[in-house]
Subunit: 189 residues, 2 copies
């Protein structure tokens, strides 16, 4: 299956992407996602269906792209003066958002993108970027800090694993415990 | 969406399930999964399409059920005389199987089951059962051992997170390092 790479901002491509994404978001709220079709999205966005097929391949790939955009953080994590407080606050918000019904739907859609595509990897890259901001602040303050891959393994991965495969203990105290065990454990450098 | 619970072994239900699962597996190899349809599977399995719709709801749910069956371990993990060796061997096999193209397809299909269903949770339950066997052996030998949820958080979750979201470092040494850090770290009880 040959697909065009995702467009970069600017120009007609970016305007089409914005119009199509907006159409998907609006129609999901208005008619529900099970009623979505490529022609319906195209009409709302003011483009032809073939424009959508050419760029995204199919509806599933489009929904995956829209979901990943939803999962992109708007702002860097707030600074709370210490790495443990930064990570605790971030992990608490992450588990709350991602384990909500809306969050689960976005994660699921993101994973439904083409297996050779990079939609799922973009989700992980967003989390890694947020973590890197907090680790860089810790380094500026002279605090000891683990590396980003260790934070992904010890904090993000367990939350995401439970959201996808083992729902139950998806609470702020669980997120806090993961951060505490990360910072007190042998992974800390 | 109302669906019948998955059947238990024995009787006509079990025979239908076995015939339908076998038909899916054969047809996936013969015609490829993109060509699969419920009528095609029904014909091969010798049942009516409505039997399949009634029990599974749709093709996606059927593929998810078949995938989870594939992910069910056939045998308990081999005993290697010590918990660290048992877990290392098991994690190494897990990462090798699950990160293969076939393994990824099964995980993806399992996650594609109905969001309110238990297909994804069954995958996690299989891993937990295997780990519990190893932990019980360790307890019999008088070894210190973490609990099963800690092993899931520290060994299974990072592997699965990277398989789904962050492909790259999916090697046996990575699996071994997760086990070493689990057993040497503060999570050990």
């Amino acid at each position: 299956m040959s697909r065009k790479p995702m467009v970069r901002p600017g120009g007609r491509s970016a305007r089409v992407q914005e119009a199509v994404h907006t159409a998907v978001r609006e129609l999901q709220e208005e008619v529900g996602r099970s009623e979505l079709t490529v022609p319906l999205v195209a009409t709302r966005a003011g483009v032809t269906p073939s424009t959508i097929y050419r760029r995204w391949g199919d509806l599933q790939e489009l929904l995956s792209d829209v979901a990943v955009e939803h999962l992109r953080p708007d702002t860097p994590p707030p600074s709370r003066g210490h790495l443990s407080a930064d990570l605790r606050g971030w992990a608490e918000q992450f588990i709350e958002e991602m384990s909500s019904p809306v969050g689960r739907t976005y994660i699921r859609d993101a994973l439904l993108g083409h297996p050779d595509g990079d939609n799922a990897a973009r989700c992980s890259a967003y989390a890694a970027e947020q973590i890197e901001v907090m680790l860089a602040r810790a380094a500026e303050r002279g605090e000891d800090a683990p590396d980003v891959e260790t934070v992904l393994d010890r904090v993000v991965a367990p939350m995401m694993y439970r959201i996808l495969f083992r729902p139950g203990d998806l609470t702020a105290p669980y997120a806090h415990r993961l951060v505490r065990e990360l910072l007190e454990g042998p992974g800390t450098r």
